[in-house]
């Protein structure tokens, strides 16, 4: 199939004017091809005998496809016929010339770095650093020619100062921790559309159960209501996955396990929520032991940042401080935080009669990109339900 034009890619054979055995000479019209511009006659450049038609009528074939095989005069000399049928040269266009592949042009060298002393910081990074009080000179850039990018600043914000503890004398750098908290909380409020739900739960059953259990235990192995609360949250989180996991890069990744972040505040203003790994699989005693261990390590400044970043949902309690309800700020990239207020003696209706009950206000602050009030309500209700059967936790 000959190329007949710059934009011809294929042609349809609509008429053959030759058949095998015909003699053809250079310049003869041998076929008609239909193209987008109309029917065009095809001429032949060989002189010889048609041996075989290779493409049938109404076939659409790409440019370059052999259409017929012609035996040129060179091959029809007397005597040659007796030999094995020679493969006469087909009307084959030689492979089209290809210019040398264009080597990738060398990219121009990056523009020279700024005058000595001036860091290369992208405008986006600069703004983010300013918002979070990050000192640019302490940041190493990962962008072109060492430029500091937005992601570099984000990474710096996400780092919790406690991890540097290994290189320093034991003890917490509370200022650094405060700065990290500030950065994280500001980011949370900026990026996460929080919605809030509150639910009052009768925890009388829990209290009674705990009282019976702890009566037989020494003080350092007694269970606290907080452990029951965390176990209940973990159980509910397993059933409502949209509250357990991370929201990153525009999508939600449900946690494969439930690691409940346990918010611990220390004197001086430090605050962190390290994870109780696989909380819903731990027994209450194991959970309680881990909680004690975390508090101890927190006071000593020996929490690893991975323990904080492992948390898939956070529980915070201010019950001991006396507030009835607390509305938390989600710790990014988590998507929910459950708050426990203090236990309050309230008049409550049970079986038609009013009587005093221990009631606690649970709150949920959740990421509206991932869940909505309906799901949140069911989630909180589930926690409340689980807390009615403390022996099953």
């Amino acid at each position: 199939m000959p190329s007949l034009g710059a934009d011809m890619e294929a042609g349809t054979l609509v008429e053959w004017l030759i058949k095998p055995g015909d003699h053809v000479k250079r310049g003869d019209i041998v076929a008609v091809v239909e193209t987008q511009k109309g029917a065009i006659e095809i001429e032949i450049f060989e002189t010889g005998v048609v041996e075989q038609i290779l493409v049938g009528l109404d076939s659409k074939v790409p440019v370059g496809t052999p259409l017929a095989r012609i035996c040129t005069e060179l091959e029809t000399k007397p005597g040659a016929a007796a030999a094995a049928p020679p493969a006469g040269p087909a009307v084959l266009p030689p492979a089209p010339l290809r210019p040398p592949p264009i080597a990738a042009r060398p990219t121009p060298p990056p523009p020279p770095t700024a005058a000595a002393g001036r860091q290369r910081v992208s405008p986006a990074a600069r703004r983010l650093a300013e918002m979070h009080g990050i000192d640019l000179s302490s940041v190493t850039g990962s962008g072109a020619a060492g430029a500091i990018t937005y992601a570099d600043i984000e990474r710096r914000i996400g780092e919790v100062p406690v991890t540097a503890e290994k290189k320093r004398a034991p003890g917490l750098d509370l200022d650094a921790m405060r700065a990290a908290i500030a950065a994280a909380m500001a980011r949370s409020k900026r990026e996460i559309p929080h919605y809030y739900l509150a639910h009052q739960v009768d925890v009388t059953a829990c209290e009674q159960w705990l009282a019976r259990l702890n009566a037989t235990r020494p003080p350092d192995s007694r269970l606290l209501l907080g452990a029951l609360g965390i176990k209940a949250v973990a159980g509910a989180a397993r059933r409502f996955p949209s509250f357990n996991g991370f929201y990153r890069e525009g999508k939600f990744e449900p946690g494969s396990a439930v690691h409940v972040g346990f918010a611990i505040a220390i004197r001086g203003g430090g605050l962190a929520a390290p994870a109780l790994h696989d909380a819903e699989q731990l027994s209450l005693d194991e959970l309680m032991a881990r909680m004690r261990d975390l508090v101890q390590r927190m006071r000593a400044g020996r929490i690893r940042s991975s323990e904080i970043s492992d948390s898939t949902i956070t529980v915070s309690s201010l019950g001991e401080r006396g507030v009835e309800a607390l509305y938390g700020i989600i710790y990014p990239p988590q998507v929910a935080i459950v708050g426990f207020g203090r236990v309050v003696e309230r008049p409550w209706v049970v079986d038609g009669a009013v009587g005093p009950r221990s009631v606690i206000t649970l709150t949920l602050a959740a990421d509206h990109r991932v869940s909505d009030g309906h799901a949140g309500a069911l989630f909180l209700a589930e926690i409340g339900k689980l807390l009615q059967e403390p022996d099953k936790l």
């Binding site: 523009p111 700024a114 005058a115 001036r118 910081v121």
Partner: protein, 335 residues
């Protein structure tokens, strides 16, 4: 008593007269040079640039043409290819569109397309710009469009020195050179050295050094930009004014050196904003001086309208001093 006539070292002259003197000088020094265009001879030039030249050089070298922009521009290109150094005068950039095929498809392509066998050392001068209430078809600023084309060079003289000196250098260039003279500048008066001569045609010039912001401009907008810079100085904004002088090639080195120093830039360009020369300069600054910027690059261009006739609308349509001042203040964060 001895009386000596002292030739003044400086003369008081106009932009128009400087261009005329440039043409006269070229005609005298190089017999390959001739001027060709509509009404350049008997009429003395639409903007009176060539007044008196016909009498001095004769009708062969000051050649009136019929209203055949494509024909005589192509003829100028052909004459240049055959060894002459013609100055083709297209009355204005508005009419140059009729000659665009010859400029783009012959002048700009011939050297590359012929494998360096033929070049077209033609100079094409055109008046450009708005401001005389000449309405939509007579008010274009298309020098930015022409600066898009590889194979030609594009100049915009804004000062008397450049009006006087760019022409000779352009005529000696082996490639086509387009010179855009803003209509509002012809009457501009000023002082010029009596022996002012040829100047370079590939470098920008710092017309007002400064450290607070780079105001980058050319042609008719230069003087408005300088006025804006004076106003900004009163508000403690120290503007550096760059006169591009050459629109193709652009003097990247000068632009980047300025932006690196000031960290802020506003470009003033009488072309329409979209796809303008100002847009090209923005892109280059982003490519080459991104990390030196402290603010987005500003542009002051013509509004996206056909230039209207009534004074107040025309004024609102093209760059003016208050808009330049406002853009500069926005860039330094003092909007």
């Amino acid at each position: 008593m001895l009386q000596q006539t002292v030739r003044p070292a400086i003369v008081e002259t106009t932009f128009r007269e400087a261009v005329r003197e440039a043409i006269r000088d070229a005609l005298r020094r190089d017999d390959r040079v001739f001027l060709m265009g509509e009404d350049v001879g008997r009429y003395g030039g639409c903007y009176a640039v060539s007044k008196g030249l016909l009498a001095e050089f004769g009708p062969d070298r000051i050649r009136d043409t019929p209203l055949s922009e494509s024909g005589f521009t192509g003829a100028g290109i052909g004459a240049a290819m055959a060894g002459m150094r013609p100055i083709v005068e297209l009355m204005t950039v508005n009419f140059s569109l009729l000659a665009l095929d010859q400029i783009l498809n012959t002048a700009a392509t011939v050297r590359h397309m012929s494998g360096n066998q033929f070049g077209a050392p033609v100079v094409i001068r055109m008046a450009t710009g708005a401001g005389r209430q000449l309405a939509a078809q007579h008010s274009h600023s298309l020098e930015g469009w022409y600066a898009h084309i590889p194979g030609i060079k594009v100049l915009a003289p804004a000062t008397l020195e450049d009006a006087r000196g760019m022409l000779w250098t352009a005529l000696q260039d082996p490639d086509p050179v387009l010179i855009f003279e803003n209509v509002m500048l012809y009457n501009m008066t000023g002082k010029l050295a009596a022996d002012a001569g040829a100047v370079n045609i590939d470098k920008a010039a710092i017309r007002r050094p400064g450290s607070g912001i780079s105001l980058i401009t050319y042609g008719g907008s230069l003087w408005k930009t300088l006025e804006a810079a004076a106003q900004l100085a009163n508000e403690n904004i120290d503007a550096e004014v760059i006169d591009l002088r050459s629109l193709r090639p652009l003097d990247d080195a000068a632009i980047m050196a300025s932006v690196k120093k000031t960290r802020r830039a506003v470009i003033v360009d009488e072309g329409w904003r979209s796809g303008s020369l100002a847009a090209e300069i923005c892109a280059r600054i982003v490519e080459q001086a991104f990390f030196d910027l402290d603010a987005p690059i500003g542009r002051v261009c013509s509004e996206e309208v056909p230039i209207p006739y009534p004074r107040h609308l025309e004024d609102a349509a093209i760059p003016q001093v208050p808009r330049i001042v406002a853009a500069a203040k926005a860039a330094v964060g003092r909007a």
